[in-house]
């Protein structure tokens, strides 16, 4: 069976519990103001952004507007600036010059963070706490009211409910990554930032992740995902932006077709996808 067909079969055959329990779905009991305007997606804009780390210039003159509901694939080689751009969007890094603003919400910076979910290179999980304890902690910090049900659903959706009480340090790389994704989606973010999110996921994990992204995109969640590798989830992208040397090299545009850029990525990797 061809690889793509096999993956599609896997996606359709993904565990029914993961399909039924929608991870990252806007919480039924949350107020409209907690989820951006009228529960819709929020965007992000970068205006003439530059970021320096000492003498190293990580980002140069970046101007980019991501509209609510877009799925942007951020492409580029190692060191192109993808991670710095995403960390800046997640408000973890401040620009040296220029402005970064979350659009579609009038919330101040602290409150705007409740709309953002970020999966980074690290798992952002405590190794000496169990999967459930980790999710409980972040559910509390994000102010989720009756969070135990949400945490249970999240663990079931990512396939870790049987290991809910196990310490994270006993998990494999793939299990940690699934939990990291579940953590990022727990509070129902409307802007999802993904930095190489598929790293370490096995085929089942990839299928679960793909279907989760599909659902989030259908719900209008804004997604910015970086990758330097061919990833099946990229087919969901509505826009592709490639970075090189800290600059935007190409942008398929808001209403453009990302297929050409994605095809270039595919051919650059020897058509392995």
């Amino acid at each position: 069976m061809p690889a793509s067909e096999s993956a599609l079969t896997q996606r359709s055959a993904i565990s029914s519990e993961a399909e039924q329990i929608a991870l990252g779905e806007p919480r039924a009991n949350s107020q409209p103001s907690e989820r951006g305007p009228a529960g819709n997606s929020i965007g992000i804009t970068f205006e003439n952004v530059e970021k320096r780390f000492g003498s190293l210039v990580a980002l140069r003159n970046i101007s980019l507007g991501v509209r609510g509901g877009e799925f942007v694939a951020l492409l580029g080689a190692n060191g192109a600036g993808k991670t710095t751009l995403l960390r800046m969007a997640a408000q973890l890094v401040k620009p040296t010059s220029g402005n970064v603003a979350v659009t579609g919400t009038t919330s101040k910076s602290e409150d705007a963070r409740r709309f953002i979910g970020f999966v980074g290179h690290s798992t952002f999980l405590y190794d000496e706490m169990s999967a459930e304890e980790n999710l409980n902690l972040f559910a509390q910090l994000y102010g989720l009211g009756d969070y135990r049900g949400d945490v249970g659903n999240a663990l079931t959706a990512c396939g870790l409910s049987s290991r809910a009480g196990s310490l994270v340090r006993t998990f494999s790389r793939g299990m940690r990554q699934r939990l990291a994704i579940a953590r990022a989606l727990l509070h129902g973010p409307r802007l999802l930032l993904l930095d190489e999110p598929a790293a370490g996921l096995d085929r089942q994990g990839l299928a679960w992740f793909g279907s989760t992204l599909e659902r989030l995109r259908a719900e209008g969640c804004t997604i910015v995902m970086s990758t330097h590798a061919r990833n099946e989830s990229l087919d969901l992208a509505t826009r592709a932006v490639s970075l090189a040397g800290g600059r935007i090299e190409r942008d398929s545009g808001i209403d453009g077709d990302p297929a050409e850029l994605l095809a270039e990525l595919r051919s650059a990797q020897g058509g392995e996808a």
């Binding site: 408000q91 973890l92 409150d111 952002f124 000496e128 972040f138 910090l141």
Partner: protein, 224 residues
């Protein structure tokens, strides 16, 4: 979310992690006990000698143990970049610092609760009759130590030589606190024990000033 609520959640997380790993408490208590025992061999701990040198030795032990304990406070948030996860949460940055401060206060207070009785036995001193006032002095001194130490732990967490950097930054800043704590404790060990209110007021002032400063600067302290 209110800062106090977020700090309480983070305090619970710190306590859970510590009582699961016992990394900080074990090393701190053992180190402080070793210091106190070694000093007891260095001179003849008669009651008069202990009244003169005891408070200094006791606070030096707390200070060294505290700097040992405070070092990993932020450093251990780096293994999976969990500090970034906390910074992304919709909570005030000061809540992160406050949660750490409260946890460090609890850990150091537990260490002191073990150390003080051992000190009283080894150095032939009695704290009966002044226990309440001693707790006040220990509380204010320890609070100052953990407020300042937690701030410098946050500053030095990203440094390559953080194990060396923290004591180098911390100990000079804590000199006034050490003097005040020693003097206040000494006043309680005198033949006619009477709490020196001037030093207690100084300790309270130190705590308020450094807590306010850490609140004002916490945005910058927790930045990359």
């Amino acid at each position: 979310m209110a800062t106090s609520r977020a700090a309480a959640i983070l305090l619970a997380k710190e306590l859970r992690l510590e009582f699961r790993t016992r990394e900080l408490l074990t090393t701190t208590v053992i180190f402080a006990l070793v210091v106190v025992v070694l000093f007891s061999f260095a001179f003849e701990p008669t009651a008069a000698e202990s009244r003169r040198y005891g408070p200094g030795l006791l606070w030096i032990a707390f200070l060294f143990a505290g700097s040992l304990m405070l070092n990993p406070s932020f450093a251990r948030e780096q293994s999976n970049e969990t500090l970034d996860a906390l910074r992304m949460a919709p909570i005030a940055p000061f809540a992160i610092l406050l949660g750490k401060m409260l946890a460090n206060f609890v850990f150091l207070a537990v260490a002191e609760a073990i150390l003080v009785p051992v000190f009283a036995v080894l150095y032939n001193v009695s704290f009966s009759g002044v226990a309440g006032r001693l707790i006040l002095v220990l509380g204010l001194g320890t609070l100052g130590l953990v407020i300042t130490g937690t701030v410098f732990s946050a500053i030095s967490a990203h440094a390559r030589m953080r194990e060396l950097l923290l004591p180098l930054l911390l100990l000079p800043i804590l000199t006034p606190l050490l003097i005040a704590s020693v003097e206040a404790t000494a006043s309680l060990l005198a033949e006619q024990p009477e709490l020196d209110r001037t030093w207690v007021a100084f300790l309270a002032g130190f705590d308020i000033v450094f807590l306010t400063a850490s609140w004002l600067m916490c945005d910058y302290l927790l930045e990359e």
